[in-house]
C-alpha cells in the first residue's frame, strides 16, 4: 500500500557490481516498481530494473524519414511547381542535385528527434524530483549507486521493504519523502 508522504525506500551501494546484484535480487523478490541510479551507464542495469523496450530507435527513424521526405518535397515543390527556372537546360526535376539537401535534412531531423526524443521520453527537464530530497543522493552523480523501491509498488510495505533492502547489505538506507 502506498503510504502518504513516502515516495519509496532508497538503498545506497558503493559499486556497480553490488548495485546490479541488488537490482536482480529486488526483481526476484517480486518488486516491479523499482529504479536504479548510477553516475555512469551500466550495462544490463536497465534490464535488471525491468526496462525492456527502448523506443529511441523508432523515434529517430521516424524523425529521419520525416526529414528526408520534407527535404525532397521542399526542393521538388520549389523548383518544379512554385517557381520553375530553366538553368542551362537542366530538367526542373533534377533529382541528383536534390540528394544532398535531402540527405542533410534527414540527418538534421533524425538528430533533433534523437535529442528531443531522449529528453521527452525521460521526462526531462524535470527540476524537482522526490529523490533529490535524500541528502546522500548528491553522490549519485559522483561515486555512489542507488536503488529505489517506489511506494507505488503493490508489494511495498514500509516495514517489509525496508527489512528486505537491509538484507542486501547496502551502505545506507533512506526513506524518500514525497
Amino acid at each position: 500500500m502506498r503510504r502518504a508522504g513516502t515516495y519509496g525506500f532508497m538503498a545506497e551501494f558503493d559499486s556497480p557490481t553490488s548495485l546490479v546484484a541488488a537490482a536482480h535480487r529486488v526483481q526476484q523478490a517480486g518488486y516491479r516498481k523499482v529504479d536504479a541510479y548510477s553516475p555512469f551507464p551500466i550495462e544490463g542495469l536497465a534490464e535488471a530494473v525491468g526496462f525492456h523496450r527502448d523506443e529511441m530507435p523508432l523515434v529517430v527513424l521516424i524523425g529521419g524519414l520525416i526529414g528526408g521526405i520534407t527535404g525532397y518535397a521542399m526542393q521538388y515543390w520549389m523548383s518544379v511547381i512554385s517557381y520553375p527556372i530553366n538553368v542551362g537546360g537542366k530538367p526542373y526535376h533534377s533529382w541528383p542535385a536534390f540528394i544532398i539537401v535531402t540527405f542533410e535534412m534527414t540527418i538534421l531531423f533524425a538528430g533533433i528527434s534523437a535529442v528531443l526524443g531522449m529528453l521527452a521520453l525521460n521526462g526531462l527537464p524535470m527540476p524537482y524530483h522526490p529523490v533529490f530530497n535524500v541528502p546522500r543522493f548528491a553522490f549519485a552523480t559522483k561515486d555512489r549507486f542507488f536503488l529505489i523501491v517506489f511506494s507505488s509498488d503493490p508489494k511495498y510495505s514500509s516495514i517489509e521493504t525496508r527489512r528486505f533492502l537491509e538484507s542486501l547489505s547496502p551502505r545506507s538506507i533512506a526513506e524518500v519523502p514525497d
Binding site: 530494473v49 542533410e104 538528430g111 535529442v115 524535470m126 524537482y128 559522483k142 561515486d143
Partner: protein, 458 residues
C-alpha cells in the same frame, strides 16, 4: 644504446589511457575542481584578454566591411573568393577532427577518445562558428544573408537547389546544429555532477537549469546511450558529407585545378589532418597547465600523431594525383595550372605547402617524436600553416590565371583581410578560454566508465 631502445618504445606505445590509481570519486573531483574550486589564474585572464582583444579587432573589421563593402578586401576579378573562402574551408576542416573523435571513434569503440572528446567537440563548435562568419560576410551584404535559406518572401523566389553553394548552406548549418546537440547531450550528466558538487548558490542554479534535472536513472541512461549512439551514427556520414560538399563548391565548377573527382576524399582527409593538428595544439598546453597528464596521456598524443601521419599521406596522394592528372589528362589548361603552381608568381607558397604538409610531418614516423609534446606541438603548428596554404593555393592560384590570358590577375590580401582572419583565431581562443573555465573539459562520466571498477563482475 640509451633508454630509447626498442623494448622501451614498445612500452611507450602501450601507455595507458588513464593512469592507474584513480577512483570514481577522484576522477570526478579532479575534473570538476578545475571548474568549481580552482582559482582563476592571471594567465587565464591574460590569455582570455588577448583573445578578446583580437575578437574586438575582428568585429571592427567586420563593422568597417558593412560600412564600406567588400572593396576593402583584396578580392578582385578574377579572384572573387580570396581570404574569405580560404579561411572558411580552413576553419570548417579543423572542426572535423572533433566529430571524428566523438562520433567515429565512439562507433569504432576506441575508448581512449573519452578523455579528449569533450574539448574536441567544443573545438568543433567554435571552429564552425569561426568558419560560418566568412561566407556570411563574403556575400557582400551580410544583413541579407538570410536570403540563403528557403523562406517564403515577397519576391516569391526560392534558392537554386542545383547549386553547390546552397548545398553548403544546408550541410554547414546541419553540421553546426548536430555538433551543438551532440556536445550538449554529452554534457548533461556532467552538468548534473557540477550541480551536485558546486558550493556556490548561483552556480548551483545555473548548472541545475542546464542539467535539466538529470538524476542518472537506469532507464534514462539506457535511452541516453541509445540516443548518443544513434547521434554518433548520424554524425559520422554527416561529417564526411560536410567537407565533401565544401569540395563540391570547387569541384562542380569548371575552373582548371578545381574540376576533379579526387576533391571529396582529399578534402575530407585534409580536414581531419588539420583538425588533429588543432586538437594537439590545444591538448598539449591544456594537459600541462591543468595537470591532466594522467587523463590525456602519451597514448592520446601518439594516437593523434598516427592519425595525422595517415591523413597526411592521403593528402600527399591527393597532391600527386593532381600533378599526375595535370599531365595525363592532356588538357592544356590543367597542364598550365600545374606549371603555374610550380613556376608562377605564387610558386613560393606551393613549395611551402609541400614542405609543411608532406615533408616535415614525416618526422612523426619516429616513435620518440610521437611521444614528445614539444615536437608534436611544433609539427601541428606547421601542419595548420600548411593546410591553410593548401586552401590558399586551391582558391587563389586556380582563379588568378584561368582560360584567357587577358583576364589574368593577382591577389593581394589587405590589412582588413588579415584583421578578420586573425580576429577569428582570437574569437576561437576566447571561446576555448571560457569553455575550459566554466564547463568540464573532459567528459567525467565517460572517464568513470574507463576505470576497472566500472565493470560489473558476475
Amino acid at each position: 644504446m640509451d633508454e630509447r631502445t626498442e623494448p622501451v618504445t614498445a612500452e611507450r606505445e602501450r601507455a595507458p589511457v588513464i593512469e592507474p590509481g584513480y577512483t570514481f570519486g577522484s576522477v570526478t573531483d579532479k575534473i570538476s575542481s578545475i571548474v568549481l574550486t580552482r582559482p582563476t589564474s592571471n594567465g587565464w585572464f591574460f590569455g582570455f584578454g588577448l583573445a578578446f582583444l583580437l575578437t574586438m579587432m575582428m568585429l571592427y573589421a567586420i563593422g568597417y566591411l558593412c560600412v564600406r563593402g567588400t572593396g576593402i578586401w583584396g578580392v578582385t576579378i578574377p579572384i572573387g573568393w580570396g581570404f574569405a573562402i580560404v579561411n572558411f574551408v580552413w576553419w570548417i576542416g579543423i572542426g572535423h577532427a572533433g566529430t571524428l573523435i566523438s562520433a567515429i571513434l565512439l562507433l569504432l569503440r576506441q575508448s581512449w577518445r573519452n578523455s579528449i572528446n569533450r574539448f574536441a567537440e567544443a573545438m568543433t563548435l567554435f571552429a564552425v562558428a569561426s568558419a560560418g562568419i566568412f561566407p556570411l560576410i563574403h556575400v557582400g551584404r551580410p544583413w541579407l544573408a538570410y536570403w540563403l535559406f528557403p523562406y517564403p518572401n515577397t519576391m516569391k523566389v526560392w534558392p537554386q537547389f542545383r547549386s553547390p553553394l546552397i548545398w553548403d548552406v544546408f550541410a554547414v548549418s546541419t553540421y553546426a546544429t548536430i555538433s551543438l546537440l551532440f556536445w550538449f547531450i554529452g554534457l548533461i550528466p556532467d552538468l548534473a555532477t557540477l550541480r551536485d558538487r558546486s558550493t556556490n548558490h548561483a552556480s548551483r542554479i545555473i548548472y541545475g537549469i542546464l542539467a535539466m534535472g538529470w538524476r542518472g536513472s537506469a532507464r534514462h541512461w539506457h535511452r541516453y546511450e541509445t540516443a548518443y549512439l544513434l547521434l554518433a551514427g548520424l554524425a559520422t556520414p554527416l561529417v564526411l558529407s560536410v567537407h565533401t560538399v565544401v569540395s563540391f563548391d570547387f569541384a562542380i565548377g569548371i575552373v582548371p585545378g578545381w574540376h576533379t573527382t579526387i576533391f571529396p576524399p582529399y578534402f575530407v582527409a585534409g580536414a581531419i589532418y588539420s583538425g588533429f593538428a588543432m586538437v594537439l595544439m590545444l591538448s598539449i598546453p591544456i594537459r600541462k597547465i591543468f595537470q591532466l597528464e594522467d587523463f590525456i596521456t602519451e597514448r592520446h598524443l601518439q594516437n593523434s600523431a598516427k592519425v595525422m601521419l595517415a591523413t597526411g599521406l592521403i593528402v600527399a596522394y591527393g597532391y600527386i594525383i593532381e600533378g599526375f592528372m595535370g599531365w595525363y589528362s592532356g588538357n592544356r589548361y590543367d597542364g598550365f595550372t600545374l606549371w603555374n603552381r610550380l613556376h608562377g608568381p605564387y610558386a613560393f607558397f606551393y613549395y611551402m605547402l609541400l614542405i609543411c604538409n608532406i615533408v616535415i610531418p614525416q618526422v612523426l614516423w619516429i616513435p620518440r617524436l610521437r611521444s614528445s609534446p614539444i615536437w608534436l606541438f611544433l609539427v601541428s603548428g606547421v601542419v595548420l600553416v600548411g593546410m591553410w596554404l593548401e586552401r590558399f593555393i586551391i582558391v587563389v592560384v586556380s582563379l588568378h590565371r584561368d582560360f584567357l590570358t587577358s583576364s589574368w590577375g593577382m591577389y593581394y590580401p589587405t590589412r582588413w583581410d588579415w584583421m578578420t582572419y586573425i580576429g577569428t583565431i582570437g574569437m576561437f581562443l576566447a571561446a576555448m578560454f571560457l569553455f575550459v573555465r566554466v564547463l568540464p573539459m573532459i567528459s567525467i562520466f565517460e572517464m568513470r566508465t574507463l576505470l576497472p571498477e566500472a565493470e560489473v563482475k558476475e
